[in-house]
Symmetry: C2
Subunit: 327 residues, 2 copies
């Protein structure tokens, strides 16, 4: 079985660990968000790709959800002692090595997809991880602060400001020119099912969907999404701040409508959100909180089951008649 | 009083700490060797500049003589886990931060002299540290190994091979085009005394002397050297391997002749090397082993005293007659 998943950071990575456990024999391709990428101290940092790679590769800081386990911070402390900025982004020593290797390969001319593959050769994440694009894009957020109305890098809004100022606009710089990385469209074309994890629908999944051709490729497929909103609040993170920026309510219903049909065919919501509905989409209510790998696997299994059901009886097809009615 | 000193790594840095203690009110300019510089993992590493900066700035690993105190090695271990080379060069986490800041500034277009000044703003070494040149030069060593006769970077010969293969030739790549960094020639012109520490006469001091204009500028000045060879062996390091490469004996006499007159006016040798002599050079025998800052300061004081004596009665001038003979 061939599965494609789009993924952001922590929520996506934890879901993917469940997906891998739920479908151990499947061939899983993960298309990772690179809109959050940032160059710090001359080094290219890809937070979402790394979170997926470390989480699936067994090198993640479990408690934090991002960064390396058993991490130290000597480099960051020394950079601060030199007075260089920014000091608000948390880079650990072990993590620095990843960015150093990545930057050296990028500077040598390798595309990000090849670099990611090289890094994953060490981590063996058990999935094929491809960045959404080899072309550089960056999510910028328009805010108004004491310096006036201006665009800042997504990470500055998210990490430094903790989304405390309203996002007036969220822009993926470079989206118009960016092409899907090699393998992305083919993986989608070959997929038996596409799963959208409970990642941020605006700055993670929404960003990937802005890359030319990806949304169109998905529209012909069986696509099941897992709601990142449970009972009117994000399962984790600050997705509400991103949804507000684009005028979307923080509800499982509103996010479903944001993705919309024909992109999405199936939608998993939490039990308290039963009642969510959209034409052409099969909605199922399931426990959606990921406490551990087992609960994440249960959600993934539900998503795969729903995808299989949709594949057997596509939308528009009348549901298979019950044996009694078959006569 | 204005003093200029040329310096390599450990020996030079330890001597300079003594010089600063011996002449606390002097205006000291240090011209640092950059022939040992190397780019590792995309980062520009300047081992001699950093050894001087860390030693005088109180951040050196005292026992080792190079690198940072209280150092950890997470980045290096992770780079090795990714399988990237080289793994033979010892870069610590704290040290990495220096190279990251330097590389970022160089990439932004700042010359190495400006970068060095910026790094020293943190370390406050108490001297003005200038690289010999802002132009890139690199010392390469011709060796013959299982891959045949070839040139390797100095650090590969020195650190990886520990100078175990004979250096058939030592070449400063880029020497023909390199110009002295801003301030170098002016500092020499303004100096009351120039002191050559017991640094490596071939790949440290000898390298600096290859930069166009530096030797010529020195020849008009009072220049006192401290022999790096005591009793036929280097005080520390593997200077003998470098001297052999250029056909010079490992003796205080041979190194004096290598520097030669008119470059050098005064030469401090160890007591066991009394008898060393060269026309036009005043030679004095003194204890030359640097156990600590105090012993290094005593050597520096002897060098400054010899320089003052030479300045009062330049070579060629008959020694001032004793009072009895004055009648």
């Amino acid at each position: 079985m061939r599965i494609v998943s789009l993924a952001g950071g922590i929520g996506g990575a934890r879901f993917l660990r469940g997906l891998r456990a739920a479908a151990p024999d499947a061939d899983i391709t993960v298309i990772g968000n690179t809109g959050d990428d940032i160059t710090l101290f001359g080094l290219r940092v890809c937070p979402d790709l790394d979170t997926v790679m470390y989480t699936l590769g067994g090198g993640i800081n479990e408690e934090q959800g991002w960064g390396r386990d058993k991490e130290s911070h000597a480099v960051k402390e020394e950079l601060a002692a030199y007075g260089v900025e920014p000091q608000w982004f948390g880079l650990g020593d072990r993590d620095f090595a990843t960015h150093i290797v990545r930057t050296q390969m990028l500077d040598a001319g390798y595309p990000l997809s090849a670099v990611t593959e090289a890094l994953c050769a060490r981590w063996e994440p058990g999935v094929r991880l491809i960045p959404m694009s080899d072309d550089r894009t960056e999510t910028h957020v328009v805010i108004t602060d004491e310096r006036g109305r201006r665009a800042v890098h997504f990470q500055e809004w998210w990490v430094r400001l903790r989304a405390s100022l309203p996002a007036e606009q969220i822009i993926l710089v470079g989206a118009d020119e960016a092409r899907p990385a090699p393998g992305v469209l083919q993986a989608i074309a070959d997929a038996d099912a596409v799963i959208l994890p409970p990642s941020n629908p605006v700055v993670s999944i929404g960003t990937i969907l802005q890359i030319k051709g990806i949304r169109e490729a998905l529209e012909g497929k069986t696509v099941v999404g897992v709601s990142p909103i449970v009972g009117g609040a994000p399962v984790r993170g600050m997705a509400d701040a991103c949804l507000t920026a684009i005028g979307v309510d923080t509800t499982a219903q509103a996010v479903l409508e944001l993705y919309g049909s024909p992109l999405i065919n199936g939608w998993l919501v939490a039990e308290e959100d039963a009642g969510v509905a959209l034409d052409g989409v099969r909605v199922q209510a399931r426990p959606l909180i990921m406490h551990d790998v087992e609960s994440a696997a249960a959600i993934a299994r539900a998503a795969l089951d729903l995808a299989a059901e949709i594949a057997r009886t596509p939308a528009g097809t009348p549901a298979a008649p019950a044996p009694e009615d078959a006569r």
